[in-house]
C-alpha cells in the first residue's frame, strides 16, 4: 500500500516536471472580443508614422517581426535615460536576431523631428533598420500609446513638460501585446528578456 502511494507521488511529480519543460505561452494582453464565434485579441491599432529617415512606417512594416517598444522624448530629464539604457541592453542582446526589431516613439513630436531622432540614434550607434525611432502627428501618437497601455500627458509643472510611464512593451508578429516590463527596473527587464526568448521559441516550434 505504502509503495503504491510512493509510486503515485512519483508519477505526479514526473508529470509536473514534464510540464515545466513546455511553459504556457505568453498571454495576449488587453481586452478580447468575440465575433462570429472567434476570439479577437487586442492588437496595436493602425498607425502611420515617420522614422528617423523621414520614411513612412505603418503596421505592415512590422508584421512578421516581434518588436520591443517604448515611448520617450529627447529632452526628458527624468526616467528616459534610464529606460534607454535598458532598451540598449535589450538591443545589444538581440542585435543579431533578424526576427526582433526595436521601436521607440517620441511623445514630443514638435521638437523631436526625424532629423533630431536620426542624430539621437546615431549617438546610440545603432542599426537604423533594426531600431526605428518614430515621430508624427501629436494626437495620432497619443492615441497609439493607449494600444501599448502607456500613460502620458503634457504637464507644464513637471521637468521636461511631459509626464509618462516608462514601460518597455513586447509585441508579437501579429501586433498582439505579449509582455511588458517597467523600464526603470533592471530586474524586471531581465524577466522581459526571458519572455522575448520564450516568444521566439514559440515561433521556432511552429
Amino acid at each position: 500500500m505504502k509503495s503504491l502511494i510512493l509510486y503515485a507521488i512519483l508519477v505526479i511529480l514526473t508529470y509536473i516536471g514534464c510540464n515545466t519543460a513546455d511553459p504556457k505561452p505568453l498571454p495576449k494582453l488587453g481586452q478580447t472580443s468575440i465575433e462570429n464565434g472567434d476570439t479577437l485579441y487586442h492588437t496595436v491599432g493602425q498607425f502611420t508614422l515617420l522614422n528617423q529617415d523621414s520614411i513612412e512606417v505603418v503596421n505592415s512594416d512590422l508584421s512578421g517581426y516581434i518588436y520591443v517598444s517604448d515611448f520617450f522624448f529627447l529632452n526628458c530629464p527624468t526616467i528616459c535615460p534610464i529606460v534607454m539604457k535598458q532598451m540598449l541592453k535589450l538591443y545589444q542582446k538581440y542585435e543579431g536576431n533578424p526576427t526582433v526589431k526595436f521601436v521607440s516613439h517620441t511623445l514630443d513630436p514638435k521638437r523631436d523631428t526625424p532629423s533630431a531622432l536620426k542624430q539621437y540614434a546615431n549617438n546610440l550607434d545603432i542599426n537604423h533598420s533594426k531600431w526605428l525611432f518614430l515621430t508624427g502627428d501629436r494626437d495620432h501618437i497619443y492615441d497609439i500609446k493607449d494600444d501599448y497601455f502607456i500613460a502620458a500627458m503634457e504637464d507644464s509643472e513637471v521637468p521636461g513638460g511631459i509626464t509618462h510611464s516608462g514601460q518597455i512593451i513586447l509585441v508579437d508578429k501579429k501586433g498582439h501585446v505579449r509582455s511588458f516590463a517597467e523600464g526603470t527596473d533592471p530586474i524586471k527587464v531581465e524577466h522581459l528578456m526571458e519572455d522575448i526568448d520564450q516568444l521566439l521559441k514559440e515561433y521556432e516550434s511552429k
Binding site: 529627447l74 529632452n75 530629464p77 527624468t78 526616467i79 535615460p81 534610464i82 534607454m84 539604457k85 540598449l88 533630431a116 542624430q119 539621437y120 549617438n123 546610440l124 550607434d125 521637468p159
Partner: protein, 132 residues
C-alpha cells in the same frame, strides 16, 4: 592554537580594510550624485553611449574646474542634441562633494578639492557665462 587566533584577527582586519577601501570616500557627494546626476549619467557613472557622457571613466580633456562649472550651469551648446540643465539649487559645498566624488571615488584621482578651490573655479566660470 595561538597562531590560529592571530591569523583569524589578521583575516578580519584584511576583510575590514578591503570593505573600507571600497566604500566611497565622499558619501555626501555620492548621495547628491545619485539624486541629481544618476538619471542621465547612471548610478555607476557609465552614461549612455555618446548621448549622456560617461563619468567613469571621465573624458580626460575635461578639467576639474570645467566639471564644477558644468555641474552648476549645465551645457547648452547649439551643437549638442541633448542639453544638460543647470543646477541652481546646488550650493558650492554640494558641487565640491560631487566633483570630489567623481574625480576621487569614481576615477581614482589623487587630487581632491577644497571648498575654497571650487568656489574660486565657480567665480571664474560665472564671468565666462556672463561674457557669452
Amino acid at each position: 592554537m595561538k597562531a590560529n587566533k592571530v591569523n583569524t584577527i589578521f583575516l578580519i582586519l584584511a576583510i575590514l580594510t578591503y570593505f573600507s577601501c571600497n566604500e566611497a570616500k565622499y558619501m555626501q557627494g555620492k548621495r547628491t550624485y545619485d539624486m541629481v546626476c544618476a538619471t542621465c549619467h547612471m548610478q555607476n557613472g557609465s552614461g549612455v553611449k555618446n548621448l549622456y557622457p560617461s563619468l567613469k571613466p571621465i573624458n580626460t580633456s575635461i578639467t576639474s574646474s570645467e566639471l564644477a562649472c558644468i555641474i552648476r550651469y549645465g551645457v547648452n551648446k547649439e551643437s549638442s542634441l541633448i542639453k544638460m540643465p543647470p543646477n541652481p539649487a546646488l550650493e558650492t559645498v554640494d558641487i565640491t562633494n560631487i566633483v570630489n566624488y567623481i574625480v576621487v571615488d569614481m576615477n581614482r584621482s589623487k587630487e581632491e578639492f577644497t571648498l575654497d578651490q571650487i568656489e574660486a573655479m565657480l567665480e571664474n566660470c560665472k564671468e565666462a557665462t556672463v561674457e557669452q
